[in-house]
Symmetry: C2
Subunit: 120 residues, 2 copies
C-alpha cells in the first residue's frame, strides 16, 4: 500500500483513508457478509469493469484488509475474504449499510438487496 | 444537488454517495460535534483550500445535510450546522471516528484531536 502519512488531522479522515474510496468500501461491505469469488464480486458490482475491480482488490490486499484463499470445496476455488483488520471495520461498514437501507425511500431512491443477484 | 440515480445496487453504495467523499464526510464529522463557523472549519481542515471548503459546504447544503444559520450570539455570526438529515448520519459518522481512534496506533499513525486546534 502507498505509505501512510504519519499524522492525520482527525480519526475519521484516517478511517476514510484506509477504506480508500467508495468502491473499495462497497467491496468490503460485501466481503463482510461472506467470502466471495471474483465472479461473485463482478455480479455484485456490475458498474465496475474487470480492470477496476482487479485493481481495487489488489489495493485492498496490499492494505492488509482482504486476502485471497483457496477454498476447501470441490472443486477448490479462489475466494476473497476479510483479514482480521478488515473484519475490525465491521461496525462502520454495518452502519453505512444500515443508514442506506433506512433512508433510501426518503431520497426517492430504491436500493436492492445485492445478494439476491447471486441467486439468479 | 446532482439528481440522484433512482436505483443503487447496495445500501452502502447509496450512503457513500450521499456522504459524497472523504472531505465532505470529515466536515460532517466536525459539525456532528457542534455548529461551527467557516473560520473554525478552515482551522480544523488546514489541508483544504478556501475554494475547496466553500465548494464542499455548498454541496453539503444542496444535499440537505448542512445549513447555514445566523447565531444568536453578540455579535451574531454565521454558523454551519447539520440538518435533521445530516444528524441522521450520526451512527455511521461515529463509527468511522471510533475506528480511526482505536486503530491508528496499529498502523503506526498518529491522529490528533482536531478540536484542540481551535483552542490554540
Amino acid at each position: 500500500m502507498a505509505k501512510l502519512a504519519h499524522t492525520f488531522g482527525c480519526p475519521s479522515e484516517f478511517t476514510l483513508h484506509v477504506l480508500g474510496g467508495k468502491w473499495k468500501t462497497v467491496i468490503l461491505c460485501y466481503l463482510k457478509q461472506r467470502p466471495l469469488r471474483y465472479a461473485d464480486l463482478r455480479r455484485l458490482i456490475p458498474n465496475l469493469s474487470d480492470k477496476m475491480l482487479t485493481e481495487r482488490l489488489a489495493d485492498l490486499a496490499a492494505r492488509g484488509l482482504v486476502t485471497k484463499k483457496r477454498s476447501s470445496s470441490r472443486p477448490p476455488r479462489d475466494v476473497y475474504q476479510l483479514t482480521a483488520t478488515g473484519r475490525s471495520l465491521g461496525a462502520p461498514l454495518t452502519e453505512l449499510y444500515r443508514w442506506g437501507q433506512k433512508h433510501a425511500a426518503q431520497f426517492g431512491v430504491q436500493v436492492t438487496n445485492p445478494f439476491t443477484r447471486l441467486e439468479e
